[in-house]
Every structure is written in C-alpha cells, then in structure tokens.
Symmetry: C2
Subunit: 320 residues, 2 copies
C-alpha cells in the first residue's frame, strides 16, 4: 500500500513556519533588523526615500487551479503580480509578507512547491520574504504585501495625463490571456508567469516628464480607464499598434477568438502602460525601449473628451 | 415578493473600491502622500523611526461564521488582531491594507458591515485604511497588513528573556475562549472583539530594562513558548496568579470545563505577555498597571531549564 503523503496537519503551524523560514534564508539586514520570527518585521527606512506598499491575492478556483499549474508556478505568480505594482510605481523591491491560507489536508509537497516558487521569485528580484501568516481555510489562497522604495517624491502615479500625451506600453499584449484560454479548453498545463517590469519601472521613474504609469493586470481597456478617469480624460487607441506576440492572430483565429478583444480585455499581461508629452525627447518607442530594457510601443494618445476610441467593447473580467 | 438584496456582483469591483474609499474618508496626509487609488500606497517615513509590519487573516469557517457574529464585529476584529501585533512591538499604528476575498453573491449589506467595522476600529486607533485588494473567492476572508512605527531600535522583541526574569500579563485571561465556546454550544451570537493593547505597548517600549514582549493570540502556553524558545529557556507559572474574569470559574464549571486549561490554551485574549528583571523598579504589578493604563499581573518567572512548569497540558488550537 502506498504511504500516505504528509499534510500540513501532520506538521503543525510552528514547524511549517520554521520550514518557510529555512527556505527564505536569513533575510535580516541593515534594512530588515528583524524578519520572520517576531510579532512583526522591523524595517529601517532610508532618509531620502518614500516607501510604497501594495497587496494582492491569488485565490484557488479564481486565479489558479492546482491541477492546471504547478505549485511552484502559483507561488511565483503570487509574488510577481505584487512586484508588478511596485514596477508601476517606479519602485525597487524591499521585502514581502506572505499570508498563506490552506486546508489542513494540503500535502507538504504542494506547500513546499508554493513556498519554493515564492522564494525563487523573491531572490530573482531581491525582495526577501520577511514575514507572514499561516491559516487554515477550506480553499487555498496566497495574499502578499510588498514594500518598495523610491526616491522621495519620485513615485510614478496614475494621475497626471494631459490631452495630447502619447501612450506607450512595454512588451506584448495578449499572450497571458491566450495561454489561459488554451489551458481552459484543452485541460493542459499553464506554465506562464508574468515578468514584473521592475527595471523598466525604475528607468521610467528617472525620465523627466513622465506623466502617469499603471501595470496592466485587468486588461488595457480597464487599466487605461484608471489612468484617464483620474482627470476625466479620454484616449484614442490604434488597435494596429498593439504589440502582438508572434503567431497570436493565427492562434486566436483557430480558437474562434477576436485577437484585439483578447489583447484589450484579456488581462494579466503585467506590462506597464504610461504617458509622455509628445514634446518629450523620450517620446520615441526605440529610444524608450533602449532605456527601459524592453520593447516599447506607442499605442495611442490622450484626448480631452472622456471615453476610449478605437477599442472593441469588453466583457467582464475576473473580478466582481 | 421581497426585492432581492444587492450583491457584490451587482456593483462590480470599481464601484466597490469607491465604496470602501468613501467609507475610509481621505487618508492622505504628510505620512501617506498617496492612499487608496493607485497601484500602491506611498508612505513617507520619519527619519528617527523604524517601521514594523505584520499581517494576519480572518477566514470564514475558521475564525468567524456569518451567522454567529455581525459583519461589523468581524471587520473590527480583522484589524484588531493585527493592531495587537503592533502593540506587542511597542509600535504606534501608521496605517493598514485590507485584502478582502468574498463570493460574488455576498450581499452589499454584509460587505458594508465588514468595511464599517474595519474603518471604525481604524479610526479608534488612528490607523487609516490606505490600500488593499478585492478578489472573488468561494469563502470570505479578510487579510490585513498593518504598519506601525517605533523610535529607532526601540521595538519590543520576542527574544531577550533571562533566567530569573519576572513574567507579567495585562488584563485578564480566558474570557474570549469562554465566549466562543458558549456561542458554539448555544448557537448564540458572539459580540466580543479583542482590545489591542496599543497604549500599554507604547508605555512598555519606554520602560528601561523591558526584556521581551508578545501578544497572546494562540494562548499563554503557546505564546510563552515562543518567548522561551528564542533562548532555550523555561518558566514556572503559578496558575493561581492567572488574572481571571469575574464569575469565570463558575461559568467554566457549569459547562464542565477546566478553567485553567481554558485560560492557558483558549487563545484570542490579545493581552500582552512580557518580562522584566526582578531587580527593575518597574517589576511591580501595581506600578506597571498605572504606567500601562491596564491591570497587570505577575504570573511567574523564567527558569534556566527548558519547559513550562505549573500549567496543564494543552490541546491543539485553531491552526494546523
């Protein structure tokens, strides 16, 4: 008879926390005099900097399913989507807290995979896991809070666009949504995790004249709406300029999907969308791309009149 | 036919966030140049201070049930248990982030109650809600991250006890566990929320010689264990000295419960447990109580030999 796999209930909370702490290494530093192991983590901020804080959750059955992705991929993404918010602020990662909820019968190998994925991503972006919480729950979820730092007063904001500003995006749009739809239909594995554009965000924060920035989590239409609504503005988008992955249109056609709709409404691209005055010497995709270390496309411009022109109508997304 | 109650799905994410933001007021300040409404909140730290960060979750079916408590009580407790961690660090609240997961069919009145309770507690402790996240989920959960501040290097830690130190607790032990057991058995309502000992924590952080501090969330036995294990020490507790609510022993007897076991293992007291050298001029319950603004009891002392003497064996708690 096969031996039953160990579960969270077999180890108990204290042992599980020690297990995470071992995996996280010893994140104590001049910045974090105390990390995992006290009632709270202690952060020693620098004089000339602001801190930025954001939180985001990945929920079983909503953002992931265990059958469809490896626990490692899920753990990585839980941090990556949060780092993307730091990127959108032009911030450098400082540290992260992980609140992990899971059923007591979750196997230890799945738990280890989630933590390993998280810690891998944390190492990659120099964003140590400094604290968190473990709790029983019927469904699994990973709620992450990230802390970043920016030069005082230099955080990239959502508000700030003006009529005539040019709109740019990093990378390509649509691949994440396509991969998810394919996995949904085929029952296949989903391996993709977003790449938080931390370096691009840091470079953007140093560009004079940068007007506004957001990361594309809910899809271009929704997230562009957030930039515009802050000032009651509108935009004209040229769908032909949306940066499109190789073979994307053909793949969409095979699945009977409208490529532009998927690019605009699919979400989870975690690319940066930002605006620059047309007069800026930086307002050229090639020049921006070199500076940001990632391809950049100009996709449209800002209008005085509210509303977004040029995009197809979008259906409702992940959220309520 | 009665009109169907509005649900989260009826409003959609953007409207729900606006609803929370309205309820939270405008938390922008010199400390928070940006709160709700961007990719992240911006915190401007003070030069002479450290920040402390902690996260904790309240999960439906584990920490609360909607039938048994009002949404307002649940919302308050979600913040209160986090503030208790700040108290244990001797920190002053700076702000909080709330990640709320809920089914799309949750009614708006329950949602409003959760948020109202959270914001009430936030106002009471001057801890503005500055950011967060909304996500669909099958079960409801509130994951909170709090930020506090302490004079640089003055945070109260868990490690630091020495043999011979006297051990003290604030307030009384056992009432929370008793209330929960009573509600479980009678199916009655649970109205109790813990009082985070913020003022007591701030006063403790200014007492010279204070050795170690923790808040009692999992019960005296477990949490005292955390203070002791940091140094491989033990303790002797005098059960007769445990501060006991009026009528507690009789109420336990009526329910067939051992009063001391409930006081030691019940958890959720959210009182502070701390140590002082016996030679400290502060090591007197009366004097401490005046300074901390809450009753204080001396319950035992620290031993060189590992293990806790004087307490009954405890059963497993809430966690894995």
């Amino acid at each position: 008879m096969p031996r039953r796999e160990s579960t969270l209930a077999d180890l108990g909370e204290a042992a599980l926390i020690r297990r995470i702490a071992r995996r996280a290494g010893h994140p104590e530093s001049a910045t974090w005099p105390q990390a995992i192991g006290d009632d709270a983590a202690i952060l020693r901020p620098r004089k000339t900097e602001d801190l930025v804080l954001s939180t985001d959750a990945q929920v079983e059955g909503v953002h992931f399913r265990f059958g469809r992705e490896s626990p490692r991929t899920i753990g990585r993404r839980a941090l990556a989507v949060n780092l993307s918010d730091l990127a959108a602020m032009g911030a450098r990662p400082v540290g992260a807290l992980l609140s992990l909820c899971a059923p007591a019968e979750l196997t230890l190998s799945v738990f280890d995979g989630l933590v390993a994925g998280f810690v891998d991503e944390a190492r990659r972006f120099d964003c140590p896991l400094v604290g968190g919480n473990l709790s029983k729950a019927r469904e699994c979820s990973l709620t992450v809070t990230v802390v970043g730092r920016v030069k005082r007063g230099q955080a990239l904001r959502r508000k700030g666009l003006r009529p005539g500003d040019l709109l740019f995006v990093t990378g390509e749009l649509g691949a994440a949504a396509l991969a998810r739809l394919r996995a949904d239909r085929s029952g296949g594995q989903l391996r993709r995790t977003p790449t938080p554009r931390i370096k691009a965000g840091l470079a953007l924060a140093r560009i004079t004249g940068i007007r506004a920035c957001i990361d594309l989590s809910d899809g271009l239409a929704t997230d562009l709406g957030h930039l515009l609504e802050a000032r009651g503005l509108g935009a004209e988008i040229d769908p032909c300029r949306l940066p499109t992955p190789r073979g994307f249109a053909a793949a969409c056609a095979r699945l009977g999907l409208d490529a532009t709709t998927l690019q605009v409404a699919g979400g989870e691209d975690y690319e940066l969308l930002f605006g620059l005055p047309a007069s800026s010497t930086w307002a050229k995709p090639g020049r921006l791309g070199e500076r940001l270390g990632v391809s950049v496309s100009q996709i449209g411009h800002v209008l005085r009149q509210p509303g977004i022109r040029g995009l197809p109508k979008i259906p409702a997304g992940h959220h309520f």
